[in-house]
């Protein structure tokens, strides 16, 4: 019962957060200079004021701003995100076209980073102050500091141009007939460079976070007690250290979940990966309000959702945390 109540409260909170995100993003993007009509005017070079008026009228941009906001929020409540001004199609259709590619890239990168980060972080913590720790710490710092687009370009130059091992761009080979298995392998081959490039940044974050968290827990009294009790080292690590050290990592992972659907503009750009990040970026440049807002809101919804999931996982990882509290 307590759990149901907790979930209900969280759900109401989540809806309020999403409403706030919608109103805020709506206000922010409208505050930027220029609107879809001016962008179209710029593209045409020469226009007349009547043309601008008609474009604004066509998209309802001539109505008072509060009226536009109300219509928009009412639409979103019914899961209608409107049409894209540039594409003249429902924005949900556009997003749905790009979502699979984005999820494939971000989930792979995320999984690589999470697993790799945990392994490297724990290894560093176990050998704290010794060479593996130094090596991992320096590597993590380097991964964190390097600009993604640069890493991507260097990876292309090395693995595609110089060695010819991996394709430089795109999601699959174009214009060739393949069996489903061949196609899957082809996509996997195309995925290696972008997923590892994007993964490096997350990897660095998880490595550093895991190392710090494990080091903190290792010094706590219950670990000393476990050792004093004569528990085996493996058991101490698994049951006492790792389980407790996981909490901040769960928090971080749930926060980064929004990136999963928000896409990764730089990686997608460098590797010509057909994801949402690029779509959202172009929408921003073209003041395609509906398209941009929908990507904001959906990414926020993911963050809210995964935070809820994280809260539930906390209680599994640490029985002292009760959901009802």
């Amino acid at each position: 019962m307590a759990q149901v109540r907790f979930l209900l409260i969280r759900l109401v909170k989540a809806i309020m957060v999403l409403l706030a995100v919608t109103v805020l993003s709506f206000g922010l993007i409208r505050a930027a200079p220029g609107d879809p009509a001016t962008v179209m005017a710029g593209e045409q070079g020469a226009v007349d004021p009547e043309f601008l008026e008609r474009v604004r009228e066509r998209y309802g941009l001539d109505r008072p701003i509060h009226e536009q906001l109300f219509t928009y929020v009412a639409g979103v409540a019914m899961l209608d995100f409107g049409d894209s001004y540039q594409h003249n199609r429902p924005v949900m259709e556009l997003i749905a076209e790009r979502l699979p590619a984005t999820l494939l890239l971000t989930l792979t990168a995320f999984a690589l980073a999470l697993i790799g980060g945990l392994l490297m972080g724990v290894t560093a913590a176990r050998h704290v102050g010794k060479w593996p720790d130094a090596l991992i710490t320096v590597a993590a710092l380097l991964f964190f500091a390097l600009p993604l687009f640069w890493v991507g370009l260097m990876a292309i130059l090395l693995f595609s141009v110089q060695l010819g091992w991996l394709p430089a761009f795109g999601m699959s080979t174009i214009g060739v007939n393949m069996s489903p298995i061949e196609r899957a392998l082809d996509v996997a081959k195309h995925l290696i460079l972008p997923a590892s490039t994007l993964g490096l940044l997350y990897l660095a974050t998880y490595t550093r976070m895991t190392r710090a968290s494990v080091l903190e827990v290792m010094d706590l009294e219950f670990v000393r007690t476990a050792r004093a009790k004569g528990l085996g080292e493996r058991r101490i690590w698994r049951r006492h250290i790792l389980k407790n050290a996981l909490l901040p990592i769960i928090t971080l992972a749930s926060l980064q979940a929004g990136h999963l659907v928000g896409g990764a503009v730089l990686t997608e750009t460098v590797f010509s990966w057909p994801g949402i990040g690029r779509l959202a970026f172009d929408a921003l440049l073209q003041r395609d309000y509906n398209l941009l807002l929908a990507t904001f809101i959906i990414a926020s919804a993911f963050v809210v959702f995964f935070n809820l999931v994280a809260d539930l996982i906390y209680s599994l990882a640490d029985p002292r945390i009760e959901v009802a509290s």
């Binding site: 930027a32 200079p33 220029g34 609107d35 001016t38 962008v39 005017a41 710029g42 593209e43 045409q44 070079g45 020469a46 226009v47 007349d48 004021p49 043309f51 601008l52 066509r58 049409d83 894209s84 540039q86 594409h87 003249n88 199609r89 556009l94 076209e97 790009r98 590619a101 687009f149 370009l153 292309i156 130059l157 595609s160 141009v161 430089a168 761009f169 795109g170 999601m171 699959s172 174009i174 214009g175 997608e268 750009t269 460098v270 590797f271 010509s272 990966w273 057909p274 994801g275 690029r278 779509l279 172009d282 921003l284 440049l285 073209q286 003041r287």
Partner: protein, 523 residues
Amino acid sequence: MKRLLSAAILSVATAIAAQAQDDPQTGGTLNLVVQPEPPTVMLGINRLGPVSYVGSKIYEGLVTFAPDMTPLPKLAKSWDISDDGLTYTFHLQEGVKWHDGEPFTSADVVYSFGEYLPEAFSRTRGVMDRVEEISAPDDRTVVFKLKEPYAAFMIIFDSTGGTIVPKHIYEGTDIFKNPANETPIGTGPFKFDEWSKGRYIHLVRNDEYWQDGRPYLDELYFHIIPDANSRAIAFEQGQVDVLRGGDVENIEVNRLGDMEGVDVTTDGWEFYDPLAIINVNTRHEPLDNPKVRQAISYALDREFMIDAVFGGFGKPAYGPMTERTPYYDPEVLTDYSFDMEKAKALMEESGVEAEGGVYATLDLMPLPYGETWQRHGEYIRQQLKEIGIETNVVSVDVAGWVERTTTGKFDITTNFTYLLGDPAMGVGQTYRSNNQLNRGTAANVDGYENPKVDDLFAEGARTLDPGKRQEIYSEAQKIISADAPVIWSHQMEYPTVYRSKIHDLITTAPGLNEGFADVWIEQ
């Protein structure tokens, strides 16, 4: 004798080889790049660069243009213009079918110009306002009757300004939301096949194209590669065969052009005729002072700028036209060759008071179209400082730039305009006093007002005699060049990088925005 014989055999073999090279070969795939990814390829509703590039293979106009801007037949096989310049009669090609198999007739042309295009495209509407009546006496003939003569009338009939759309699909629908926009139906040499969003657009040969034996190519792939460096790599690796101007930075062009089996050309921009300009807001002090504007013009070392910033592509410009523009007259232009002393002297003569050596502090807003334009802005900033004008660089994105430029919220901004093949089409709009704000970025955003110039452009547009037009436009160029209501930066040249095995890639004034019916690949 033996030597003679081998020489003869060699020459015959060479002749055969040369002949083989000249004879178009059928088949093959052409891999191109389109960037940024277009929102649609339905050319009727959108004329962005990328949309025109892809859409011009699917849709056609009544005519196209030779590099010297002579009209050439397309969907119209011939045309007559009455002596008074008021009646244009187009005779259409026979046996043309839409990609869905429906016959193309004069009703499609009347619908396109009478209803569709004026709704979709400002430029075409502006020109159609001059038309009194469009009629179709029979299936193969279309007649346009003008209210008064308009010398640039033919310019509107190319595939991007005068896209012919199928009446049977669009009549009575919301042209912007018609689902057929997703699967465009044109008359062009290539048919739409597939658009994998974010990846590629695939067009295939139109087997029923009206021109026998054309197109030569089997298919076209327009790859979507958002990053300039990745585009260069894709070309180097052979994944794409053609790079348009702007696909890679000009510095890269020179490197890629040196590769074996690769050619570079700057042809194919005669129709669009781009001119880089520096807009100066003459509503703001001290830019209202002609001497200050002239000083700015003298302070620019255009040769250096073209070499250092634009990779050597471009030619200095001292007036409102380029050497590609019909009626260009270099004799009448003020010679704004780099002369810093003269620039400084003009600032002193201008009557503007200097405080601590600084005449004014102005906002400088570089065109937000990538690195090259940022560097262009930096160069201008440095030169302005030399003549005592300090600048604050304003950074905005494209939408912000359009908003500020078209509403006059700027002091100095860099820009470029398309002159569009005739002074009555693309030149006058930047200088006419009745075409100032909220009329696009190519309008007279500088606020220049000169009744004489207004009269000359009005007269030039309705005068048909080329000799008289030359006199009118020479006078206009002379006045405008001296007044410097805009600082002309340079005649832009966009390099196209392509593999030498591709033939007849660029043969007309619209260049790569042509239908590609004649393009072939040496196998």
